[in-house]
Every structure is written in structure tokens, then in C-alpha cells.
């Protein structure tokens, strides 16, 4: 069977022309020519290819898919450059936005472009725009090139930084040709600074990106659409009176379902995973949580270091909180990094020389870290590539040395390397090396989908960063299920966090859209400090465990609420709409 039989035919008369004719209604003649001309032009524009399509299709740096090109074409040719890109997770909304940005930039439609994203995605955006589209966005926070908001034509800023009064005023003094807002569900509340800023930015075009355009009620949808097309839906009250079916605005009046779909189809583009299933291979994530029993000496070393940190934490002098947290992190990584922690603690008078020497001697008795011993067994069994994430150079070198001694080809990737060295390392990993050991720098931007084993040797305390690391390999183009090995030693802070995130909340097991909703805007320090405080304030292991259990229950409840509201509302309203760029239906 290779013949297409699926044809739908419609006869829309959305202006009620037949009825008007029957009633003898007529109009002034001036608009007839314009109407016919505009339809003719629209017909032509719909078939216009993007000027960058061919160069993108042949580019080595980016793999462009049909639905992304169709979405970009629709935004440019039919939606006037402003749209809500609401594809389901994992379909490449960033790429769609990148195509639109590039097309507008190249054709002169946009000269000044601003991207607003959650803080955790800044570097990823910067890297993707540069590596895939050759668009060099300046990032306001950690980019040395940043001067001020008006000095850069291509500017990248976090939602949270942009609302600071000095930045928001600067941003508002510039006319932006295109503003792109990632994770735009953050704009759902019209009273927030973020929403008000986006509303007030002088701009020609706006792109909102979110896989979850509706979370709670129609009012939120109204708020976001109103950013795109102010006044298009009338006033909030008019909109809700017409389309909402209950006082919570959580269900849609079925009488106006088609009408709302028609309105949204002129603003929202939503491609589903089902539609792309034939050319996209969606693979699973298989987590392996390895909370290992430490050796006696490992346990003793960690306990001694933790006790010293805890004592300093509670001390009247109120030692530097962030420094204490960094010692704790060092102590969870490896024996080598524990020695580094001890040295720093000695220098800052948290331990004396005697204690330092005693604990260094203890550390020296540890032959091989339990985490490495376990990982080595796994690598021996698997004849495939491994991407190992660590936090510290000392741990990176330790693992590399051990694996090399045992005959493995290893490449390193870290923030000390120049762009060329990074490029060479990535190439070496793709073509020859079985193992890449990467510090946090490797979590950003690199596409390593030729590998399907990730090891979180040191656990990130920020869930968004864990997701980003997994996202390096579990992305479009990954052909295999991705195995995620997460390491921690029993009763360490990492073990409690690991248990909380992977076992209780079961995060990261699929490309969840609710992860960013749970932790939206979470700066690494926010969650990390919270968890560290809980760990420090526990009197003993069972007390710490209780504190993390309570924390986990609260988060689980939040996760449940988010899932329920999204599922309920999306099923009832949004997911029944066909807003795909594949088909342009008109239900009239």
C-alpha cells in the first residue's frame, strides 16, 4: 500500500458571505482588490523557502528536521514573525528559534535581538547559537565582552537578571527587532516583573518558547498570548467569559472550542512527538543509582571532615558558608579532592596541623576509591563509550590515570582547555577514545549523542545542571537508550541528594517537561545551599535522613500537583488542538 488515501475537504465561509448576500449587505469596493492581492501574496509567501534553508541543510554543525523548517517558515511567512513555539519536549524548539533568528538576521528583518532564558540555560543558548548558527550572542553575566545592554546587537540575558531595575530600564530604552523568551511559561502571571518587562520591551517581533503553554487555567494562556498580540483576545474578562466553562477557568466552553483553535492556530505552533515519530528515534533513559558502602577508612575520612565542617558551621564566628560548602563538595568527590579539602581547611584554621596530618595519613591508606572500583567493573563489561562527569580536576586526573594504566583510551575535557583543544578532544572521543572525563564545562553545549553511557561520578547539587549533562547525549540523534550511572557513598550528602532526586522524585528518567517547572529559575546556589544547610543542621545521620525525607515529600507533592494540573488541563484543552506546522487547518 503506497498510495495516500487520506484527504480532508472543507468549504469554509468564515466571513458569512452567503448570509450577507441573502441579506443584501454590501461593502465599499475599495477593499476587494486589496483582498484579492493579499491572498495572492499570501499564497506566494506560503511557498517561499527560507533563504537559509539550503545552507542549514548542508551544514555539518546542525541537523535540521522537517518540522523545524516548517515551523520557521510559518512564523516568517504566515505569522508575521511573532509566535508561540510550543512543541512537545525534545523536538528542538531552540533549533526552531535559531532558524528564525538566523533567517531574520540574514535577511535584515532583525538587527537587534534579545534572548531571555532561565539562568541555567544561558550557556547552552550561547553555545548553540554560535556552534549551530554562527550567531555570536553576548551573555550579560559571565561574558567578558559584555559592556552594557545597548552595546550588543545580539544579547543574551537571564529572566532574573533582566528584571533588575538597572538592566530592565536599559533594555526598555532599546528598540528590539526580535525578542526570544525561552521557558515562556514563566511569563504566565501578568503581575510578575518578568511578564511586565516582556510586555513593556519596545519590540517588533516576539517568540515565546514553552513545551507547556498551559499549566493551570485559561487566564495564564490569555496572559501569554496577550504578550504576543496585545488586545488580540480582547480583555481578559471578555476572553474568560466566552471561552471558560467554569469559575476556575480550567475547562473550555465546548461551543467555542473550534473558534479558539482557529485563533490559536494563528499564533501557536505545536508539533507533537507522535508526529515526528517516523523520523525521530526517541530513546529511553535508564538510571542506575549506585549508593555504595564505603570502606572503613573512606567512611572515617568523610566523617572526620564533615564533623570539622559541621563544627565550623555552628561556630560563633560564622565561618564562610560558601567555603564550608565547597569543602563538603570536595570531600564527596574522591580521596584526592578530600586531601585538597583538608589542605584548605588547615589554611583557614578549621583544622589544626595535627588533625591535618592525621587525616592525610588516613587518606593515604585508601588504595582505590570505592566509586572508581565499581565504575571500573562496569566499564570492563561494556564495550561502548563512557562520558564521566566530575567536578574537580584532581578527581579527573585520578580517574584518567587509573583507566589509562588499565589500558583504556581516555580523553579529558575541561574549562582550562582552549576552544581548539576542546574541539580536538571531542573529535578524539568521537573517533577513537572510549572514555571522556569532563568537568562541568563539558556539560554545556557539547553534543555527544554518539555516546550512550553517562557517569555522574560527582553529583551536581542542582537538578537543572544534571539534566543539562544528560542532555549532552540524550538528544535528537541518539540511537540507543541512555544509561545514567549516578555515584555516591552511603551517608554522604551526595547520597541523600541522589536518593531524593533519582529514587524519590524519579527525575531525569525521561525528557520531562516538569523538571524546569519544579526548579524554574533555580540558580545553582539556591538549592545547593538549602541542601547543605539541611545536611549541616542534622544532629546525626538519622536526623539528616529525616530532614531530607521531609524535603522530598514536599517536592514530591509539588511534582504531583504540577503533573496533575498540566495533564488535566492539557488533555482537556490544549492537546486536543491541532496546531502543528504540518497542517494548517481552518475549522470554519
Amino acid at each position: 500500500m503506497t498510495k495516500l488515501e487520506n484527504i480532508k475537504t472543507r468549504y469554509p465561509d468564515k466571513f458569512g458571505i452567503k448570509e450577507k448576500l441573502r441579506n443584501g449587505q454590501i461593502h465599499s469596493s475599495e477593499f476587494l482588490d486589496l483582498t484579492l492581492k493579499s491572498y495572492e501574496l499570501l499564497s506566494f509567501l506560503r511557498n517561499e523557502t527560507l533563504s537559509i534553508t539550503e545552507s542549514l541543510r548542508t551544514s555539518q554543525n546542525v541537523n535540521i528536521l522537517d518540522h523545524q523548517i516548517l515551523a520557521a517558515k510559518k512564523v516568517k511567512n504566515e505569522l508575521g514573525g511573532s509566535a508561540f513555539l510550543a512543541d512537545e519536549v525534545g523536538l528542538g524548539k531552540t533549533i526552531e528559534a535559531g532558524i528564525i533568528i538566523k533567517e531574520f538576521y540574514i535577511t535584515g528583518l532583525a538587527k537587534k535581538i534579545l534572548i531571555l532564558t532561565p539562568p541555567s540555560l544561558l550557556l547552552q543558548w550561547q553555545d548553540e547559537m554560535l556552534s549551530k548558527f554562527n550567531l555570536d550572542f553576548v551573555e550579560q553575566k559571565s561574558d567578558k565582552r559584555f559592556i552594557n545592554a545597548s552595546s550588543h546587537d545580539l544579547l543574551l540575558m537571564s529572566h532574573s537578571s533582566a528584571v533588575f531595575p538597572n538592566y530592565s530600564e536599559a533594555l526598555k530604552s532599546i528598540f528590539w527587532d526580535l525578542v526570544v523568551v525561552d521557558e515562556a511559561h514563566g511569563m504566565k502571571n501578568s503581575q510578575t516583573h518578568k511578564h511586565i518587562l516582556v510586555r513593556d520591551l519596545p519590540k517588533r517581533n516576539l517568540l515565546l518558547l514553552s513545551a507547556t503553554p498551559m499549566q493551570n487555567n485559561l487566564s495564564e494562556l490569555y496572559n501569554m498570548i496577550d504578550l504576543l498580540r496585545p488586545g488580540y483576545l480582547g480583555t481578559s474578562q471578555q476572553f474568560l467569559q466566552k471561552y471558560a466553562n467554569d469559575k476556575n477557568s480550567r475547562s473550555l466552553n465546548p461551543l467555542y472550542r473550534d473558534e479558539l483553535q482557529n485563533i490559536l492556530s494563528k499564533i501557536v505552533i505545536r508539533t507533537t512527538r507522535k508526529e515526528c515519530a517516523k523520523y525521530m528515534n526517541f530513546t529511553d533513559r535508564i538510571p542506575h543509582t549506585k549508593i555504595l558502602e564505603p570502606t572503613e577508612n573512606e567512611a572515617k575520612l568523610y566523617e572526620e571532615i564533615t564533623n570539622a565542617i559541621r563544627e565550623a558551621y555552628h561556630s560563633a564566628e560564622g565561618s564562610n558558608f560558601l567555603a564550608l560548602m565547597s569543602y563538603q563538595k570536595l570531600a564527596t568527590s574522591s580521596t584526592g579532592s578530600s586531601k585538597r579539602a583538608l589542605f584548605k581547611m588547615k589554611m583557614n584554621k578549621i583544622i589544626d596541623d595535627e588533625k591535618y596530618n592525621e587525616l592525610i595519613s588516613l587518606a593515604n591508606t585508601i588504595q582505590i576509591d570505592s566509586k572508581l572500583a565499581d565504575l571500573f567493573e562496569i566499564i570492563k563489561k561494556e564495550n561502548s563509550k563512557f562520558l564521566i562527569f566530575v567536578t574537580y580536576y584532581v578527581t579527573q586526573d585520578y580517574i584518567a590515570e587509573f583507566l589509562k594504566k588499565n589500558g583504556y583510551t581516555v580523553t579529558l575535557f575541561n574549562g582550562k582547555m582552549s576552544p581548539t583543544e576542546k574541539f580536538e578532544s571531542r573529535k578524539f572521543f568521537q573517533n577513537e577514545a572510549q572514555i571522556m572525563i569532563s568537568t562541568e564545562a563539558g556539560g554545556e553545549g557539547q553534543n555527544l549523542q554518539f555516546c550512550h553511557n553517562i557517569v555522574n561520578y560527582d553529583l551536581e547539587w542542582n537538578p537543572m545542571r544534571i539534566e543539562q549533562k544528560i542532555g549532552r547525549v540524550h538528544r535528537i540523534g541518539q540511537a540507543n537508550d541512555v544509561h545514567i550511572y549516578n555515584y555516591a557513598l552511603k551517608e554522604t550528602i551526595d547520597a541523600y541528594i541522589l536518593e531524593l532526586l533519582f529514587m524519590k522524585l524519579k527525575l531525569f528518567t525521561e525528557t520531562l517537561g516538569d523538571l524546569d517547572l519544579m526548579f524554574e529559575d533555580s540558580e545553582s546556589e539556591g538549592l545547593s545551599t538549602d541542601w547543605f544547610k539541611k545536611y549541616m543542621e542534622g544532629d546525626n545521620n538519622s536526623d539528616v535522613e529525616n530532614k531530607f525525607t521531609t524535603l522530598g515529600e514536599g517536592m514530591k507533592e509539588r511534582q504531583k500537583t504540577i503533573k496533575e494540573t498540566i495533564n488535566e488541563f492539557n488533555n482537556r484543552v490544549f492537546d486536543n488542538f491541532d496546531l502543528s506546522s504540518y497542517k494548517k487547518e481552518d475549522k470554519n
Binding site: 469554509p12 475599495e30 506560503r46
Partner: protein, 252 residues
């Protein structure tokens, strides 16, 4: 069609039609927006150009595909659904309705075209008005036969389908070709795997356990293939819109 010329023509005639004041200097147009339209354009004055060079030097709208003002103009024009009166110089009492349709074929490809169909309101037959027309100054209510409107529309639709048949067939042919190529590309690997499995059964006929397992595998592959075919069909689904966008009532 020279797209840039058409865009320029539409933009300027639109602003003239809505009574904007237009001034031009070295390719830079200053357009004053009448009060009635200021809310729609969210401005009382628009500076625009059709020239990339001017746009790079001046702070103004570059009107080309993707531009917001162009989009607003097209949207405004597309949402009128006008019905107007026309007449020939030597008219009698005959009324012909000229229906304007926008035929839009979409799927994995896209094609659209305007069609105008004339229908004699009395005989309900297709007509072809070729005489020069001038604005009509007659009362529509005296000339119309309301009960014939729906009938005339139905006749117009039939005529439209005939006139657009070739366009439709070409589109379906193109869509079928894409569908076939997708179908072959994605289904062939299932077919070859199933064939290999089937062959392996014949080779190892005596082993019934193997046979049973392999048949199960083939069945599961068949199921996967049928889901895939469904997905491919959905992606390639064709939608044909015969949209009525305007009408002229012509006194012949």
C-alpha cells in the same frame, strides 16, 4: 511574480485605501496612520522602506516577507470578506454573482490559488462575464433572488472543483510521490528484516522453538510497521480548503 514589487504595491495601495498620508524621500516612506487604524498598528506614524540599504541606514521598518507591518496589512485585507456591486455599461436586469475562492491545498507540501467563478443567479448556470465593469449603483435587494443564493454557491463550488481539478491532481500526485518515498524508506527496513526472519525459519524448520520465537518476532515487527504506516499517513494527510473570501454582484 516579482515578490518585492507585489509587496510594495500592496503596502502602498493599502495605506492609500485607508486614507493615510504618504511622503517619500530617497526610498524612505513616512506614513501617517488614520485614527481608526492607530490601535491596530499601535502607532500613529510608521517609517518604512522596501530597500535593504535604506533600512540599514535608517531606523525604519523593512517591508519584506516576515515583517510585522506587512503581516498586519495582509491580515487586515484577508479579514474583510467584502461583497461589492459592479455593473456593465449596457446592463439590463440580469444578475451574476462572482464568487472569489481561495483554494488552499496543504499537507507535506503546500499549494494555493485564487479562483473567480461567475454564476447567473436566474439560470443558476456558470457564466463568464468578460465585459468591462464599473462600480454598481443599484439596489441589491430589488435584484437578488435570496432563495437562489445557496443554489448558486453550490453550482459555483461544482464549477470551482472542475476548474481546480488539475491543480488538485498535480498536488495529490506530488504528495503521493513524497508519501511513497517516505513509505519505502521507512518500511523497507521492516520488510527486509521480516523476510530475513522468514527465511531463517525455512532454514531451521526442524527447530519448533526457534520457529515459534521467530514468528512472534515477525508479528511484532508487523505491528510496529502498521503503526509506522499510520504515522506516515498522518504526516502526509492532505487538507483541501475551498474558502470563500469575497463576492461581487454584477448587474449585466
Amino acid at each position: 511574480m516579482n515578490i518585492q514589487q507585489e509587496i510594495e504595491k500592496l503596502t502602498l495601495s493599502y495605506f492609500k485605501t485607508i486614507n493615510s498620508e504618504i511622503t517619500e524621500e530617497n526610498g524612505l516612506y513616512e506614513i501617517s496612520i488614520p485614527e481608526k487604524y492607530q490601535n491596530y498598528f499601535r502607532s500613529s506614524q510608521i517609517s518604512l522602506t522596501f530597500d535593504e540599504k535604506v533600512a540599514s541606514e535608517q531606523n525604519c521598518e523593512l517591508i519584506n516577507p516576515g515583517n510585522k507591518v506587512l503581516f498586519q496589512i495582509i491580515t487586515n485585507c484577508n479579514n474583510q470578506g467584502p461583497i461589492i456591486l459592479k455593473q456593465t455599461k449596457t446592463h439590463t436586469d440580469n444578475i451574476v454573482i462572482r464568487y472569489h475562492f481561495f483554494v488552499d491545498l496543504s499537507g507535506i507540501h503546500h499549494s494555493s490559488k485564487l479562483f473567480s467563478i461567475d454564476i447567473d443567479l436566474k439560470t443558476l448556470q456558470p457564466s463568464n462575464v468578460t465585459e468591462e465593469l464599473e462600480p454598481g449603483d443599484f439596489s441589491l435587494n430589488d435584484k437578488l433572488i435570496p432563495e437562489n443564493i445557496t443554489k448558486s454557491y453550490d453550482v459555483a463550488l461544482e464549477e470551482l472543483k472542475q476548474q481546480s481539478e488539475e491543480m488538485k491532481n498535480q498536488f495529490i500526485e506530488k504528495a503521493n510521490s513524497s508519501f511513497k518515498s517516505d513509505f519505502q524508506l521507512f518500511c523497507s527496513r521492516y520488510d527486509s528484516e521480516m523476510r530475513e526472519l522468514d527465511d531463517s525459519i525455512n532454514e531451521k524448520e526442524e527447530n519448533s522453538e526457534y520457529r515459534f520465537g521467530t514468528v512472534k518476532k515477525i508479528e511484532s515487527l508487523e505491528k510496529e510497521k502498521s503503526t509506522l504506516v499510520e504515522n506516515i499517513q498522518n504526516k502526509h494527510q492532505i487538507l483541501i480548503n475551498y474558502e470563500l473570501i469575497a463576492a461581487e454582484t454584477i448587474l449585466l
